[in-house]
């Protein structure tokens, strides 16, 4: 198969198939080494990138990485592929596609028109030969906005998911962390809790807590309790006030099966949330992350970054309000250090944006990875420049329930101010009315309106007050 080989200075580099070229062309990361699919030398990696750069995009539909017959993710990608939209780039190789994306002429509207014609694997392929600055420069062109109560993703704006998790789902503790986040200008993407206990009863309890806070304080935002999607469906059936429906998804049918989901269940969840008519038109919230398929032993010999892009292929079928890659959560056997986490975060954001997803990123790491808060500052800043739709806001960057480090309310304030980014338009107005932010987005000292907000908020503490 001559298209999967290349001769450089007399050395012939042969690759088995498209999946092999893609895997070996991937910038180094521990998960691909663990899976046994990575390049065995730096030279082989670059040879694979050179080989990949010469492969026509038109080859991708002819070479599904996981068979159409055995994987519903492949079927979804192939069946929803828009050949008309693809025509614009049908003549290009992967290398030519990179140049096309970088060209001045390729504007946001061009990217939007092209997106339905792009398969996730094509986007993953081009990302592998791009430098970090390419991933930033091209992603920055794409403006993907979504609306529930607030509008997220507008150029010049940056939203934050307020994440007030608690190890026993203590309602007072969660409320206290929520108030802290609001007082720091966070929560315009969503106020979203990862429950410690994933039961229908617990979800309903947390959903009504958040609905109460949002309603009483008239916050232009939405809530989500990130339990299993089937529990959320049941909660909705029982009349729980669900704004966004959450689920973790991945790029192979088998991995999704290990999560206890399939496309049918996701459709059922979307229909149920839309029927509630609490906001929209977008109602879905997806989380992803490189390495999940290897972790579930369901990677089919495909590299983790390409599989991540395939997860986005599913996500876009559900017109989601939020999608984010939880980039460093999975651990060092998949992304070993700050360098690998930063690269993966930039790739994921780029691939998601090329598929017109409202991409956010949980800029994060665990304590057994070779990373620290400085690496998070780097990725946060880089993704801020790239136009990331939202980040996480965790009290002091320390999630006391999930035991990992993410970005804090202070970090949100830093990146917005450093890059002159504003909160979601509706939320920005609310923050100014409440005396949290001034017109330029700086935090205000305690004043009358802020005290009023604080008094109203503390009254919402379950049991009525602090005592």
């Amino acid at each position: 198969m001559s298209k999967f080989q290349i001769t450089i200075s007399g050395n012939v580099h042969r690759f088995h198939n498209l999946a092999d070229v893609l895997a070996k062309a991937t910038p180094q990361r521990s998960g691909d080494i663990l899976a046994g699919v990575a390049a065995d030398s730096e030279e082989q990696r670059v040879a694979a990138q050179m080989c990949l750069a010469d492969i026509p995009l038109a080859e991708f539909p002819l070479n599904p990485l996981i068979p159409y017959e055995s994987d519903e993710v492949t079927r979804a990608i192939c069946d929803s592929w828009d050949k008309e939209a693809f025509k614009k780039v049908a003549h290009l190789t992967v290398g030519g596609f990179r140049e096309h994306l970088l060209a001045y002429e390729t504007t946001d509207s061009e990217l939007a028109a092209l997106a339905p014609g792009l398969m996730p694997e094509m986007v993953a392929a081009v990302s592998k030969i791009m430098r970090n600055q390419d991933l930033i420069a091209v992603a920055q062109k794409a403006e993907v906005t979504t609306k529930f109560r607030s509008t997220v993703g507008k150029k010049g704006h940056l939203s934050i998911r307020l994440q007030p998790n608690h190890p026993t789902d203590d309602l007072k503790a969660i409320t206290a962390a929520t108030i802290d986040g609001l007082m720091y200008g966070c929560g315009d993407a969503v106020i979203g809790i990862n429950p410690a206990t994933d039961s229908v009863g617990r979800l309903m309890e947390l959903e009504s807590l958040l609905a109460g806070i949002i309603e009483t304080l008239a916050i232009p935002t939405q809530s989500c309790v990130l339990g299993h999607v089937t529990n959320q469906i049941e909660a909705m059936n029982k009349g729980s006030p669900v704004d966004l429906v959450f689920q973790s998804i991945a790029g192979t049918e088998l991995t999704n099966k290990s999560f206890g989901v399939n496309l049918g269940i996701l459709r059922e969840a979307q229909d149920a949330a839309l029927a509630l008519k609490r906001g929209g038109p977008q109602v879905m919230y997806f989380e992803t992350g490189q390495g999940s398929s290897l972790s579930a032993r369901a990677h089919h010999g495909v590299d983790q970054q390409t599989l991540e892009a395939r997860a986005y292929g599913i996500a876009r079928m559900f017109n989601p309000f939020l999608v984010n890659t939880v980039v460093g959560f999975i651990g060092p056997e998949y992304l070993f250090d700050g360098k690998q986490i930063i690269r993966a975060g930039l790739e994921d954001h780029f691939c998601g944006k090329m598929l017109r997803l409202p991409m956010g990123c949980d800029v994060c790491y665990t304590n057994h990875a070779q990373a620290d808060q400085d690496d998070m500052d780097d990725l946060l800043t880089l993704l801020g420049v790239a136009g990331c739709n939202y980040f996480m806001g965790v009290p002091g960057a320390d999630d006391i329930m999930l035991n990992y480090q993410s970005t804090s309310f202070h970090d949100a304030q830093y990146v917005r101010q450093a890059l002159k980014l504003r909160a979601a338009p509706e939320f920005e107005v609310w923050l100014q009315q409440m005396g949290v932010h001034d017109k330029s987005g700086r935090l205000l000292p305690a004043g009358k309106s802020k005290s009023r907000l604080l008094t109203a908020a503390t009254k919402l503490l379950p049991g009525g007050g602090i005592q």
Partner: protein, 255 residues
Amino acid sequence: MTIKPDSWESLRKLTHARIALGRSGNSVPTRELLDFRMAHSRARDSVWREVDFAPLGAVLISSGFSSIQVQSKCSGKQNFLLNPDLGRTLSDESQARLDADLGQSPVLDCVLVVADGLSANAVHTNASAFIEGFFQSMKGVQLGIGPVVLARYARVGLGDAIGFGLKAKSVIMLIGERPGLASSNSLSVYFTFDPKPGRTDADRNCISNIHDSGLQPKAAGNMAAFLVRTAIQRQLSGVDLKLEYDASKAIPSKS
């Protein structure tokens, strides 16, 4: 004074989350910055420190118990962090040591494994109190326990390989948890009846968060002994084993 304290500091008593930290400009005060870094440094040290089993071995000997040291197939910490499967498999040398020991041992009802996992500090700080509690609650119970196995570069699954290697009826593994910022020396206990390679979490019972400001190590040892006694009596472990644990009855009474 450029630090702006937050006017909702009173909320701090409701949660141990890092709220109402105050700020200067957009950023946390220096004290908070360094406190966070200190917590992270302890967690990192705990992951990367080599476990020292010598003090624990000495404690065991003075209490009348022998121990065997084993190692997974991992060659070092980095290799351990990068290859979870190797951490679930015994090295050839350790396998041979268990095989040799098997020749001399009577049938074991339960083997106790102490493992570094992701926190050597957890073992250094809390394992001996746990073991004291465990054997206190096993006193007078007619069960063959055998030598305590001390395992380096170990994941939870290594306990199954050890139990299987010693043909033990069950295995109880005390292992260092992945450190959080709040605690870098927390232990977990995993119990498996009929251990063998390929067991999953559904086949195990777990007690977690064992450290000085969580579940007290000695009390956890009492609790683990109760778990072992109950499971061996009922011949099962995992999701099918429901425990009604009463701490006041964990230690056999003196009368």
